[in-house]
């Protein structure tokens, strides 16, 4: 809270300095000598090095006109020097904000690792932790060599980060006389013109988002996914699957152009990634889980399912809190700055994020408690995450009432979806990733088209369309259509692309470990080391032993 207050104070101060600078520049046209004199006076009154050598316990002497770099020491400080410093300060604030938020999102990997490993059996803990660990490297490397270029190679124009003009080449096709962006072309290896300070910042921020999507899949396929297949699948997802949709939504691609090209609201709007990150991850998880198949013992011969209990609920709960903490980087950080038009909405975005997580938890706990008799811990955690996933897309466009409703719906939806995925689709998802990220990610995308209240104004336009993002409940039905087209693309294209890609991997590499490996636990055969070598494993339940016996036979 103090940090947010301090940040607000700094941003306000900066805005005042910028306004003062603008006024001074305007005055300079009329009376340059007067302004120049004022600056020289201020420089003359600045504390000397001898004064500063005595220390500055009150902080009043540090940070004065003498700290403004001067281009020509003979001429002394000029208005141009001050204006340049104001510009540098604005970009510096935005860089710092975006980077720190990116660091928070990176830390979410630890939360995912704890949640997923905690929900798996102890004999697979090392393997699950290792997947969550290695997916970071796989994704980062793939994104560096090509993924970033595909996603953001044509995303120039963000003034918050200095314009990003080195990312200005979008490959487009022309259909029915309209240009539609398909993929970016600049930025492979961050070489050539993208060896640029702004490009580095946006790379780091987008990269950690991408890695979040990748790590979702590891949860749905835990306890039977061959490590080799996982590694190849993750590299290809980081290189192609995620960046393609990321470009269409955030990189100036055709979904973002739905507003300018065919008049659908402000185009597809996904503030921080319910669709781009979570639905892509959740639907890819569904695709891979369909191919990998359920764990031995998950389903009985009559089609009924068994609960396979995870080994560490404390890790799950702590992991959920780490994720909730990291989400404050995810959503408020997506302003890509704290010092620009509309960026002071970061407080509102942060509160929306908290609220949706809260009501999501309530939704899941109340649903489970009322219908099953117990406030199930793992579903409570999933409820928190469901609310956070759902608010990710609308967080920058809705008010607190909207965010509370979105989170509450997500909390109930995740419970219903888990039952549907397990009992009707017969898909085994040990951590509920398909429901949390896939179903609630899609809900988040749709909710923008319903709840966006038309008060957000990030520089006067969004996706090149003048005005604020406004949903159906506030008078713009066309925004909902844009969101539905985004959902259709996620289900129709992203899911299909992931399914085909992983089907090919299954044919060439094989996605699943052998029956013997699965029964023994993946830690020793796949990783060469038990997660908890000093543990004495409790015997498997009867249904599991019977299923294992049948599988071997």
């Amino acid at each position: 809270m103090m940090k947010i207050k301090c940040l607000k104070a700094c941003t306000c101060a900066l805005a005042i300095v910028m306004m003062a600078g603008a006024v001074t520049v305007a005055r300079a046209d009329a009376a340059p000598s007067a302004s120049a004199t004022e600056l020289r006076d201020a420089a003359a009154k600045a504390p000397t090095t001898a004064t500063l050598a005595n220390g500055d316990p009150g902080g009043a002497l540090t940070g004065t006109v003498s700290d403004v770099p001067v281009a020509d020491t003979k001429a002394g400080i000029t208005l141009a020097d001050v204006a340049n410093q104001v510009g540098q300060n604005k970009i510096a604030v935005n860089f710092t904000w975006t980077l720190i938020c990116g660091f928070l999102v990176m830390f979410m990997q630890a939360g995912f690792a704890m949640v997923e490993a905690g929900l798996c059996r102890v004999k697979n803990s090392n393997h699950t932790y290792m997947m969550n660990f290695f997916v970071y490297g796989c994704g980062l490397f793939a994104y560096w060599i090509i993924g970033f270029a595909i996603q953001m190679g044509g995303a120039a124009g963000n003034g918050n980060l200095g314009g990003l003009q080195s990312l200005a080449t979008e490959h487009a096709i022309t259909l029915f006389g309209t240009h539609w962006g398909i993929f970016g072309e600049n930025g492979m290896f961050l070489a050539k013109h993208t060896y640029d300070v702004g490009a580095m910042v946006i790379f780091l921020f987008e990269m950690v988002f991408m890695d979040t999507a990748l790590t979702i899949v590891t949860g749905a396929c835990a306890e039977r996914w061959k490590f080799l297949a996982f590694a190849i699948s993750s590299v290809l997802m980081g290189a192609f699957t995620y960046p393609l949709f990321g470009n269409w939504a955030w990189g100036g691609g055709w979904l973002a152009q739905l507003g300018t090209n065919v008049g659908l609201g402000k185009g597809y709007c996904d503030f921080a990634g319910s669709g781009v990150v979570h639905a892509v991850g959740g639907l890819s998880a569904l695709a891979v889980a369909l191919i990998v198949g359920p764990r031995i013992g998950k389903f009985n011969r009559d089609g009924s399912s068994n609960a396979i209990i995870g080994h560490d609920i404390s890790a799950v709960m702590i992991g959920c809190f780490i994720l909730a903490f990291g989400w404050f980087g995810f959503n408020p950080g997506s302003t890509l700055g704290a010092s620009a038009a509309g960026c002071l909405r970061i407080g509102s975005i942060a509160v929306n994020t908290m609220l949706a997580g809260c009501t999501g938890t309530f939704g899941a706990i109340c649903y489970m408690w009322a219908l099953k008799g117990k406030p199930d811990a793992s579903m409570a955690g999933n409820g928190l995450l469901a609310g956070l996933v759902a608010i990710t897309a609308p967080s920058g466009f809705v008010n607190t009432t909207g965010s509370a409703i979105i989170g509450l719906v997500a909390g109930v939806l995740v419970c219903l979806s888990c039952v549907f995925v397990e009992n009707y689709l017969k898909v085994d998802d040990p951590v509920g990733a398909i429901s949390v990220h896939g179903a609630c990610g899609l809900w988040g995308v749709i909710s923008v088209g319903l709840f966006a209240d038309g008060t957000s104004n990030y520089g006067g336009s969004w996706n090149g369309v003048t005005g604020s993002v406004t949903g159906l409940f506030y008078g713009d039905a066309s925004q909902l259509v844009a969101q539905l087209i985004g959902c259709a693309t996620l289900i129709g294209f992203v899911f299909t692309f992931s399914f085909v890609l992983n089907w090919i991997i299954d044919i060439i590499v094989g996605q699943r470990v052998s029956i013997e490996t699965e029964i023994a636990g993946l830690d020793l055969p796949e990783m060469g080391q038990l997660g908890y070598p000093e543990f004495v494993f409790a015997p498997e339940p009867d249904f599991m032993r019977a299923a294992e016996k049948a599988a071997v036979a």
Partner: protein, 129 residues
């Protein structure tokens, strides 16, 4: 089979090949770029061949063999739903019409997942045996 040295070597070759291929694309206008692309693609192809060669060593898995034709039909239907939505953008200019087409498209795609791909993936599941 579990993890082996062969897997590790092939994966390393795959990553080197992919990196070289991407470097080749990035610098395709130069002669070195074209050579890098060629070398990268060859390396990726060799690694895929190696993956395929060692795949049988894994032995029997718990996934079971699933009908490819049904899976393919599912993939086509899911994709078809998306195409319907895209066509809907150009067939009608009204918000209501586009919304209806979008919902129809999503329903087709979901139908492909729920009624074709999911049953295909569990048709010969070992838990049914």
């Amino acid at each position: 089979m579990a993890a082996t040295k062969s897997q590790g070597k092939s994966f390393t070759l795959f990553m080197v090949g992919l990196t070289a291929a991407c470097a080749g694309i990035a610098y395709f206008t130069t002669g070195v770029g074209k050579v890098a692309l060629l070398i990268g693609l060859v390396a990726v192809a060799i690694s895929l061949f190696e993956f395929f060669k060692i795949k049988p060593l894994e032995g029997r898995t718990g996934a079971g063999a699933q009908p490819a034709a049904l899976k393919l039909a599912g993939v086509v239907v899911v994709l078809l739903g998306w195409v319907v939505v895209l066509l809907g953008l150009h067939l009608t200019a009204g918000v209501g019409g586009r919304m209806v087409m979008s919902i129809i498209g999503i329903a087709i795609s979901l139908g492909g997942i729920f009624f074709l791909l999911a049953p295909a993936s569990s048709k010969n599941a070992i838990w049914k045996a």
